[in-house]
């Protein structure tokens, strides 16, 4: 029973659309943190060792990782790097019993989102997780935006970028040296592919893509 799923408590805010994956070799620590996060309505899935998590992880179920830095065999940092190799770059909060500056620096360089020392204060942890969730939201939006924008042809993308800059169809047509009608046809196609004709939405999508 290395994997344990903790449902958010009924009284909790139900704030999380995402899993929290907790990887720590100390069972007591795992249980206590999962229990605490449960009171915030955060779903926690606990793993006693990185190996199990690596075998279990599903790219389709993104979440925030809470990882103990020091574990036998595979350290928290190594786990993070192995996940990155597999294209999984979910927000990760490293927890450690050692306020080791060098380890902290290495962690941040590797792209760790937060670095907390044990014993971890609940509010600080939840705050870090919320940032993680936001970050996940942003990534999701970006991915959605990219997916939408990827549907456009090169010409349509050129037109979209100009429209998003606030240019009128006439100006776009002049710039591309085509007729206004042609531009309008492009815009209709774009609206159909992105599911919106709002210039504001276009602006949001292009910003999210970056």
């Amino acid at each position: 029973m290395r994997v344990r799923r903790t449902r958010g408590a009924p009284g909790g805010e139900g704030m999380s659309r995402y899993q929290v994956y907790l990887i720590d070799d100390d069972e007591a620590v795992r249980e206590a943190i999962a229990f605490l996060l449960g009171t915030y309505g955060i779903d926690v899935e606990s793993f006693g060792e990185p190996k199990t998590f690596l075998a279990h992880v599903d790219e389709a179920k993104p979440g925030v990782l809470v990882v103990d830095l020091r574990m036998p065999e595979v350290s928290g940092l190594q786990l993070y790097q192995r996940l990155a190799e597999r294209g999984i770059d979910w927000p990760t909060v490293m927890i450690t019993g050692h306020g080791d500056v060098a380890a902290c620096r290495r962690a941040f360089k590797a792209g760790i989102q937060d670095f907390l020392t044990k014993p971890v204060d609940g509010e600080v942890l939840v705050e870090a997780l919320q940032q993680g969730f936001s970050s996940l939201d942003a990534r999701l939006e970006k991915r959605e935006a990219r997916a939408l924008l990827a549907r456009l042809t090169e010409r349509e993308r050129e037109v979209l970028d100009m429209v998003a800059r606030g240019w009128a169809s006439k100006e776009v047509a002049a710039a591309l040296e085509v007729s206004v009608r042609t531009i309008d046809a492009h815009r209709a196609k774009i609206a159909e592919k992105l599911g919106t004709s709002s210039v504001a939405e276009f602006v949001r999508l292009t910003l999210q893509e970056k």
Binding site: A28, V29, A32, R70, G97, K118, P119, V120, G122
Partner: protein, 550 residues
């Protein structure tokens, strides 16, 4: 102990014998001196007595001569009366004769062989007392005739007698002769029974009286001691008679057996007392030495204990970060669960069941942290070592709990294989933990120094016959051959910052509890330390059942 005992008794005996010999020699010499002194005194007394008596003879002769010669010479009958009275009063004057040397050469003093021959028959008896009690004076006619008038001549005779002769003044041709019985020169009570008394006249024996109570004559010590001897020429009688006294030195007289025996007993008692006193003193010294040694041992043990403690405290520092980690875990759990419980309590409808459950777990966690702290305190404690039957598996588990975090941090895997036979030994648990800690630390340092991937330390407990064993092995580079023999030597170290006391201390601590520690290398590389201790429960059952399997 027994050897020195018999030795001391032999010494006592020798002492006793020496004292006895000294006493005997002293006794003999003292006795000899005493006997010789006695002889000397007796000799002088006898000499004086005989000399006095000789003087009397002289006086009697002079008065008798005076009586018989001169103008108013007494008639021979009166002379006889005087002679008889002298003879009666002085039995030693056995014969008194007045003779006439007529026909002999007189006055000229010239004696010739022809004269003597002529005078052979020329001795005419005038008066003699007792009648016929004398001898034929014819052979002495010449000798007497040659005497100066007024001088006494002494002449040998037979039968223990000697003759005194004195010529009457001129022109008389008479001569007075005394036959003296030498044996009567001394009264029987005057002569010492213990001395050999002799009187000689010109070397010719007059009297020879051997000692009457010549007890140990056969056992005389004459060869070793000069027997006391006295001799002196008697004054008077022509200075011709020699008195000699000899005394034999019988062993009995020299050695006073009774006092010797008494002395032997006393000396024996004294020797015994001396031996006893010496032995008492030796025993006291020995016990004092034993006490001193025990004191020295206690002091040494105290220092070793001090060193062991200092070394543990030092090691504690190295373990601190690992232990902090061990404490952080329960603390983290407790904090998180407490915050969760607080959140639950703050809800509109607090779930008391969950809160209680959380607090229960918290209590358990806090205790776990407490145990860790206790373990730490115990390990660093300065308690006097107290060996008692201890489960070796438990000791291994304790030290593993203290070191696990540190080893984990250093990427070293710890493998435990604890015997189901529950090995037990009479040890001080903390000191044995320290020994294991030293071995684990050495192994970890070796593994880290060699940069071994997949670094492992294995700890095995087992029971082998009557022994309980703990083995600590690693898969490091092993111990170099030149280091191996010096491994347990104090102050020998291969570490740059090492004191070289770790393994020497291990050895001390293990040997303190009758164990031993050996080091070697495994065939596959890596060092292996084996601690062998007497298996306590094996010992226990042995003593209970009084037998042991072969």
């Amino acid at each position: 102990m027994t050897k020195s005992l018999s030795k001391s008794w032999l010494f006592g005996l020798a002492l006793w014998l020496a004292a006895l010999l000294a006493f005997a020699l002293y006794s003999v010499e003292a006795s000899r001196a005493r006997l010789a002194g006695e002889l000397e005194v007796t000799g002088r007394t006898l000499h004086r007595l005989i000399s006095q008596r000789a003087a009397q003879h002289d006086a009697h002769m002079t008065s008798l001569i005076a009586l018989t010669s001169g103008a108013e010479a007494a008639p021979l009958g009166a002379v006889r009366q005087v002679m008889e009275s002298i003879s009666r009063f002085y039995p030693r004057i056995a014969w008194i004769a007045l003779v006439s040397l007529d026909g002999g050469e007189a006055g000229t003093g010239v004696a010739t062989g022809a004269g003597a021959a002529v005078g052979a028959g020329g001795v005419r008896m005038l008066v003699e007392v007792p009648e016929g009690g004398g001898e034929d004076l014819a052979p002495l006619r010449g000798a007497i005739g040659e005497q100066l008038r007024g001088k006494i001549g002494v002449h040998a005779s037979g039968n223990g007698r000697y003759l005194l002769a004195k010529r009457a003044p001129a022109p008389s041709d008479a001569a007075l002769v005394f036959g003296i019985d030498a044996a009567l020169l001394l009264e029987p009570e005057e002569r010492p029974a213990w001395a050999h008394l002799r009187l000689t006249l010109d070397g010719q024996e007059l009297l020879d009286l051997p000692a009457e109570d010549d007890l140990g004559a056969g056992a005389s010590l004459a060869p070793h001691f000069t027997a006391p001897h006295f001799e002196k020429v008697i004054d008077g009688e022509g200075q011709k008679i020699l008195l000699s006294l000899d005394r034999a030195l019988p062993l009995d007289a020299l050695l006073p057996w009774r006092s010797l025996l008494g002395f032997a007993v006393l000396a024996g008692l004294a020797s015994f007392a001396l031996m006893f006193a010496l032995r008492q003193r030796a025993a006291a010294q020995q016990s004092q030495q034993v006490a001193r040694q025990a004191e020295a041992r206690a002091l040494l043990q105290e220092r070793e204990t001090l060193l062991a403690h200092a070394s543990r405290v030092n090691a504690m520092g190295e373990l601190a970060s690992g232990i902090a980690h061990e404490l952080t875990q329960p603390l983290t759990a407790v904090l998180s669960r407490s915050q969760a419980a607080l959140r639950l309590a703050g809800a509109e409808k607090p779930d008391l069941g969950m809160i209680t459950q959380a607090l229960d777990v918290n209590v358990r966690e806090a205790k776990r942290a407490g145990e860790m702290l206790k373990r730490m305190r115990d390990y660093a404690s300065n308690k006097a070592p107290e060996p008692k039957p201890s489960a070796l598996n438990g000791i291994v588990s304790e030290i593993v709990a203290l070191t696990a975090a540190d080893l984990e941090r250093r990427g070293i895997k710890l493998e435990l294989d604890l015997s189901a036979e529950a090995p037990e030994a009479v040890v001080d648990a903390i000191e044995m933990e320290q020994v294991l800690h030293n071995l684990i630390r050495n192994a970890a340092d070796a593994l880290e120094g060699a940069g071994i991937l997949d670094a492992r330390i294995s700890i095995v407990t087992k029971v082998v016959g009557a022994d309980a064993k703990i083995e600590v092995a690693d898969n490091g580079p092993g111990i170099p051959a030149d280091v191996l023999p010096k491994l347990f030597v104090p102050f020998f170290t291969t570490k740059a910052d090492g004191m070289g006391l770790g393994l020497s201390l291990c050895q001390t601590l293990v040997e303190r509890v009758d164990g031993r520690i050996e080091a070697g290398n495994d065939a596959g590389g890596g060092a292996r330390f084996v601690i062998t201790l007497p298996h306590a429960s094996a010992r226990k059952s042995e003593s209970i059942f009084g037998k042991h399997d072969a």
